[in-house]
Symmetry: C2
Subunit: 435 residues, 2 copies
């Protein structure tokens, strides 16, 4: 079964807004075995809307549209589709009552223009909208299904799940989409692909997509199948092979984010953690605490941008900064050890680097970052070089710091740490400016 998605709204033809509903709709339609073959975005113009629906209905059995169901003169989807399909619009008293009740619950009376929203093409099924006034419509005509949904994402999502999916599930074919999503950290995209392509290429029934973002790559495996057991068996088998090939580079296979994985490992090991950050300036602490309940393991952190603060907050000897420079393996170690000592945490993270755009030197160019992880009796440090602008360098540094914590618990050897793109030689005697 094939579908097209149409988004209606002149605001979607400006530089400010994009249609995000179609990503949600595509995921849900795919899961029901329905492939999306085209997406169109059209303004609030009766002829253009009709023209778009007409062309789509010539091509596919199912058209899912969002937007243009509101109460104003600009909301034309209902009128356009009814006219196109030759259906009379009938005033629906039940919808009127529902809208009136909604207004009353806010202590207001229904504005007259809301009556537009109660005009229903004859024979259409009304889709309830508990989160807004505009009901959705399910229209069957000439072997075709047209689903009209409201534009606001929260209204559209809840309506699709509650009202449309059950109706579609009955029509949808046996073929469904099954998927596995892996997160991988520490490998550049080309290296990752080189490792796993020989594996996934032997699974010609599985569609593989690599989605790279700084410091992390998502690997999506998708399979269309009429046989749920067989599809899951194939995906499990592929996932096992990939896991053997990637080992500790795999962050999660369950959708867990890096922060969530680190939080889970800290919780499982009843360990606490504290941070001392220079170039990442709070980003590692902020990411650690994105997870609800992180107060159980995150004790606190310091952001020490200036050399003085590195000494005052984390006890880094001023002499050490002078000798090795603020951006050095030594200072990263001292930050990690200092914050661990001061907070009494089981683990301490220290990060120092040159995020740019200024502050780089030939010996320590922009992108140079030293990260250390201190545990009882052992501190490991890594020198890294990240490409990109200030934001990207900081993000990748925070990702590598969290990944060091993750690998610490896996017992993986730090020396195999894959995030190292270019090793950095021993810290020089040159003093690099602070970030």
């Amino acid at each position: 079964m094939h579908a097209e998605i149409i988004a209606v709204g002149s605001e979607l033809l400006t530089p400010d807004r994009s249609d995000t509903n179609s990503l949600f709709l595509t995921a849900r339609l795919n899961a029901l075995g329905i492939e999306v073959t085209r997406k169109s975005i059209v303004g609030d113009n009766l002829a253009a809307i009709q023209d778009t629906f007409r062309a789509a209905l010539e091509r596919v059995e199912l058209v899912v549209a969002s937007g243009g169901l509101g109460p104003t003169e600009d909301d034309l989807t209902r009128d356009a589709v009814a006219e196109l399909l030759g259906l009379r619009l009938v005033r629906n008293e039940e919808i009127i009552r529902a809208i009136q009740a909604r207004f009353q619950s806010f202590g207001r009376t229904m504005a007259e223009n809301n009556v537009r929203q109660a005009m229903v093409p004859e024979g259409a099924t009304i889709l309830a909208n508990p989160r807004g006034t505009a009901p959705g419509l399910w229209i069957e005509s000439k072997q075709r299904i047209v689903v009209l949904l409201p534009g606001p994402p929260r209204e559209l999502k809840s309506m699709f799940e509650a009202e449309v999916e059950p109706l579609l599930a009955r029509r949808a074919p046996e073929l469904r989409l099954y998927h596995r999503d892996l997160r991988v950290a520490g490998l550049p995209e080309s290296d990752l692909d080189q490792r796993i392509a020989p594996i996934y290429k032997t699974y010609s029934d599985v569609e593989t997509t690599l989605l790279a973002s700084p410091g992390e790559i998502e690997v999506h495996f998708r399979i269309w199948s009429a046989d749920s057991a067989e599809a899951n068996r194939r995906l499990d088998e592929l996932e096992r092979h990939i896991a053997l090939s990637l080992g500790e580079y795999i962050v999660s296979t369950s959708g867990e984010s890096m922060e969530q994985v680190v939080g889970r490992l800290l919780t499982e090991h009843r360990a606490t953690i504290a941070t001392a950050e220079s170039c990442t300036a709070g980003l590692v602490a902020e990411r650690l605490t994105r997870v609800a309940g992180s107060s159980a393991y995150f004790l606190g952190g310091v952001v020490c941008y200036s050399n003085e603060m590195k000494t005052a907050f984390a006890g880094v000897p001023a002499k050490m900064i002078e000798t090795h420079g603020a951006v050095s393996a030594e200072v990263a170690r001292a930050l990690a050890e200092g914050i661990r000592r001061r907070t009494g945490a089981a683990l301490g993270i220290g990060v120092t680097g040159v995020a740019g755009p200024g502050g780089g030197t030939p010996a320590k160019p922009v992108g140079t970052v030293h990260i250390a992880l201190s545990a009882k009796g052992n501190t490991v440090a890594r020198g890294l070089m990240f490409p990109g602008d200030r934001e990207r360098v900081r993000w990748q540094a925070s990702q590598s710091a969290l990944d060091m914590v993750r690998r610490h618990f896996l017992g993986a050897s730090e020396s195999r740490g894959g995030a190292v793109r270019a090793g950095i030689g021993a810290a020089t005697k040159r003093r690099s400016s602070k970030v």
Copy 2:
């Protein structure tokens, strides 16, 4: 002049990827006086691509497309358009040489399939691609212009600016789009609109859009005009009226972000700043340091999640936490004053709150945040209540903290602070759990 945008690529019909090129293209086309009337997204399928181009060319004079120009079998845009327009594809030796040179610069030899990229419809203008191998194409046929651009955003953007804009500028009509973008903080969208709607509605020639995100609203004014001086006069006048109505709620009129505005004010006043954060956990520090050169005014900060750390890092008396609770105006003040004292900064920020989802109490529900700003001889604190989930509460708290710094320099009265959605009564004696 009207244009349609077509994005080609099967990956754009999955739940993972959306077409972002069209937002950039729309902004640039609008600036040239060209209105975008439809956007289509189609997969790597010859018939579907041709069908989409055919329909678009029946409607508008200009079609701008992205994607499908690569070297693989899946890249069909060139073939589809040439066939549709009845143009022969001719091998272009200059492109071959350019691709070979590009491969050589990486120390590689050109793969044979790259020859596809050198096939050019007869009569087409070649658009150079310094950032990739796929050249773009400008094709004029039957009173229509077709522009084919590569899919990767950085290749598309630089090619559009360098090659397409000069060609379009010669054809484009006199009518151009002029705009002003304001950022506003501290007012809910409905309150903001109530204030400014009476003003912008008298400017019927100006299109006004409000784009709300947590803690900030962008107000965009756009005007289509053939008279640049008149358009700018109208926009300047409207902006002045809006500025009078909104006063200190306006963060910037030049596109500057909150972080940039705060950074500029700190620099102008030669002031330094430090942070002591509980619920925002480093977010305020991280945002302050997003600005390049922020080391000139940001001294450092502490993230004190636990009560012990509030005492150890910022000198908050343990007794005070016990009496008033960690989430209280008193503790926010003590954090701000403590960090200012410890770092010697001119300004200290203290933030404490309940970000959720746990930790709320009837007296201090999730969303309760106290923020203090300490300056020499004066500390002000505000109690705020933010809606939304953990991420949203933290973000809005960081936004309000930065806004307090901004207003401090404007000399605006803190008591008029508009971000207050609901005042919070005096701190109770109940101890609320830490965030």
